[in-house]
């Protein structure tokens, strides 16, 4: 029993981080209709910024906010400098540009910060709770991670449903042309979308790192899993990203715990295919399979 609970808890903590990252991908997808392969590298880079702040004796929270701000700015700058000029062309071109950024940012981080392992401490403990005889695979850090993602999800929901900005973003994402005609400055919204995704990505980057180790390619596995989770969820649905992330995290953990760790990626593939065969647009897609 303890084993099952712990495998499950482990899956939830892993899944919630995948979810956070998938959220960032979904935000980009909603604004630009592409998958941003550079997201992982952006998040890695801002996490190094946070670590640098912490190593200069800033408290965790300051470093956390610093990384978020950096993520926001990097996202906006990338949209303005690289993505904007490519808008309106082939979507594949933007994808290739993000692949280029993914490689280049990772190389830059190795040059600037070194390629060795670095610890990223946690503001709260990393020791698991004990309930009677039961040792739970749940630590203050994992609760912190889950709560943070919860705050992000609530924040995004409020933004999209309660604020003018959010509603306009949804409208623009739904039909940019019409919004433009209605006088919405869609281009600013696109920049904001990338900035917001950069911020959410930074949260994911820091949450993966907290209570663990970082090196320039530490986000690598999350790129694939985050993408898969976002597709499972339906790519343009934030709720879908969270559900997709949790499903993937739990399935990964169960496969790893009860079958073999080598089968984890195969398990993820099977889940994805199963979902897509049932719903070609993903679990929470608002529209029918969309031609892009």
């Amino acid at each position: 029993m303890q084993h099952f609970i712990n495998v499950l808890l482990n899956g939830i903590t892993q899944g919630i981080v995948i979810a956070a990252f998938a959220l960032a991908l979904v935000l980009i997808f909603r604004s630009t209709r592409i998958v941003n392969f550079a997201q992982g590298s952006q998040a890695m880079f801002t996490t190094y910024i946070a670590l640098t702040l912490m190593n200069n004796d800033f408290p965790y929270w300051v470093a956390f906010l610093g990384a978020l701000a950096a993520g926001f700015i990097i996202g906006a700058v990338l949209e303005r400098v690289v993505i904007r000029p490519l808008e309106g062309g082939m979507e594949l071109n933007i994808v290739i540009a993000t692949l280029g950024l993914y490689v280049a940012i990772q190389a830059l981080a190795a040059i600037l910060f070194g390629s060795d392992y670095k610890s990223f401490s946690s503001p709260v403990g990393v020791q698991g709770f004990q309930v009677g005889d039961l040792n739970l695979a749940l630590t203050p850090t994992s609760i912190f991670v889950i709560c943070t993602v919860g705050v992000v999800v609530v924040g995004l929901t409020l933004l999209f449903q309660k604020t003018q900005l959010g509603l306009t973003m949804r409208a623009a994402a739904f039909d940019g042309e019409v919004s433009r005609i209605l006088g919405v400055r869609v281009s600013h919204l696109l920049t904001f979308g990338w900035a917001l995704a950069g911020l959410v990505g930074s949260v994911a980057g820091i949450l993966v790192a907290t209570g663990s180790f970082i090196y320039p390619s530490y986000m690598e596995s999350l790129i694939a899993f985050g993408f898969i989770a976002a597709v499972i969820g339906g790519l343009d649905s934030p709720i879908g990203a969270v559900v997709g992330g949790l499903i993937l995290g739990i399935v990964n953990s169960l496969v790893s715990g009860y079958l073999a760790p080598g089968l984890v990626t195969i398990g993820a593939f099977v889940v994805l295919i199963a979902v897509l065969l049932l719903k070609p647009g993903g679990l929470f897609s608002s529209t029918q399979a969309r031609r892009v």
């Binding site: 084993h3 994992s142 080598g262």
Partner: protein
């Protein structure tokens, strides 16, 4: 695995023989024309210099840690060059990045051999990566020295006459750890935590020779997947109170963290591959809550040592490495990876010294086979090099990490080998480094 010659292997031998004959023809066809004079007409060696190279993961997922090994090599060669070189020749060392991808390994080794025309490949890192180039190097007649991997694949003089291992093989280490458990923890329930490749497999194979009936769980992890929660949970479920890890250092750190998470406190025995106490300890320090300040988070962990470790500041070898690193390193702290690189480089330099002024590709291989067993490096037990064997260091001792970061010997130095070779005490006293820090001819 590689010891029973199968029909497939025999056919490879034929193919290799043909390839060797072919390369001999090439040499015959265009040989002698180089006219560099001096030691011979082999590529990469002139009166003034010896050019050598290796492939290492300098970028990508495997770069953390492993990318420091060529730094150790480089520092030691620079030190040797500054002190007269090898028979007045300067060593030029080229480290190429393969990102731990065998396709890249093939490309960069092609470049090293065919374009840079190195004299030898040294310290080539990794099992799948290096496996991609052994046949090429052997058919081209390029010495393939001190491979940075404990796989037994390199010990295959018939098919790979130019290839030599260096570090102890994983199976021997498994045996020595197994015997220690059998003798000192006879009632322990043993779990195995192994990397899903020959490190985990060979290690477990050796271990099982001694503690087969004590094993209650065997889990593996796939390198690259950092989520090892389910694996540690399974070890905990099995009730294992002793866990033997055949893993790399980052997974030592991860396994400690996950165990902390699960309140799982077995005795840990970790392969020397993964027990870089300095590195892992400093990584874990930030997470050690409630532990005594200044004490190593790995206190009590058992591992093995086949040469002095970076934390043994009083050891004359470490003092030599520290001196070399202070003078020719990049200012970063000395780690076991750099120590590993320097120790490999020491072996290379010693072989070059002993090969004499007329060194050729053939003669350095001869030196490894004839004199390799008497090389005087930091290793506690000699290399197993001979005409029939190309295996590296033949033993180690079990040690336990202490609170102050030092290690305490738990066994004498033990000597063993793969298969059913006995484990024997090795009583010869350890080598000390020469005054100059450079091996003599």
């Amino acid at each position: 695995m590689a010891h029973q010659p199968t029909p497939a292997r025999r056919s490879r031998r034929l193919a290799l023989g043909a390839a060797l004959a072919a390369s001999a023809l090439v040499v015959a066809a265009c040989g002698g024309g180089d006219g560099d004079g001096g030691g011979g007409s082999d590529p990469g060696i002139t009166d003034e210099s010896i050019k050598i190279g290796g492939h290492f993961p300098l970028t990508g997922v495997a770069a953390p840690g492993y990318s420091e090994i060529p730094l150790g090599h480089k520092a030691y060669y620079d030190f040797v060059n500054a002190n007269g070189g090898v028979h007045d020749r300067e060593i030029e060392f080229i480290a190429k990045d393969d990102g731990y991808n065998p396709a890249k390994t093939t490309e960069v080794v092609n470049e090293l051999v065919l374009k840079d025309e190195v004299f030898a490949i040294v310290g080539g890192l990794g099992t799948p990566t290096h496996q991609a180039v052994t046949n090429f190097l052997n058919s081209e007649g390029v010495p393939d020295l001190t491979v940075s991997s404990g796989s037994i694949l390199w010990d295959n003089p018939e098919e790979l006459p130019m290839t030599f291992g260096w570090q102890p093989d994983y199976e021997s280490e498994g045996k020595i750890l197994g015997q220690y458990i059998a003798e000192n923890m006879p009632d322990a329930k043993v779990g195995i935590f192994g990397q899903d490749d020959e490190l985990g497999e060979d290690g477990a194979k050796g271990l099982k020779q001694y503690v087969e009936d004590q094993i209650v769980a065997e889990v593996t992890y796939v390198p690259g997947n950092t989520d090892i929660g389910p694996q540690i949970a399974e070890l905990q479920k099995s009730g294992a109170d002793v866990v033997v890890g055949f893993n790399v250092p980052s997974y030592t750190a991860l396994s400690q963290l996950v165990s902390l998470k699960l309140n799982y406190k077995p005795e840990w025995l970790v392969s020397n591959v993964g027990s870089d106490a300095g590195l892992v300890g400093s990584l874990l320090e930030k997470f050690s809550e409630g532990a005594v300040k200044g004490s190593s988070p790995l206190t009590g962990l058992y591992t093995t040592a086949y040469m002095p470790q970076s934390t043994e500041a009083d050891d004359p070898w470490i003092q030599l490495w520290q001196k070399v690193w202070d003078e020719y390193g990049d200012g970063s702290p000395l780690t076991n990876y750099k120590v590993y690189g320097m120790a490999e480089a020491y072996t290379i330099v010693e072989a070059m010294m002993k090969s004499g002024e007329d060194m050729s590709r053939e003669s350095i291989v001869d030196t490894f086979e004839q004199d390799g067993g008497d090389f005087t490096g930091p290793n506690y037990v000699p290399f197993r090099y001979s005409e029939d064997r190309h295996a590296g260091i033949g033993g180690m001792k079990v040690v336990q990490l202490q609170a102050d970061g030092t290690t305490a010997d738990k066994t004498p130095v033990l000597k063993t080998d793969v298969g059913d070779a006995e484990i024997e005490e090795f009583t010869d006293s350890a080598n000390t480094p020469p005054e100059s820090g450079i091996p003599s001819d």
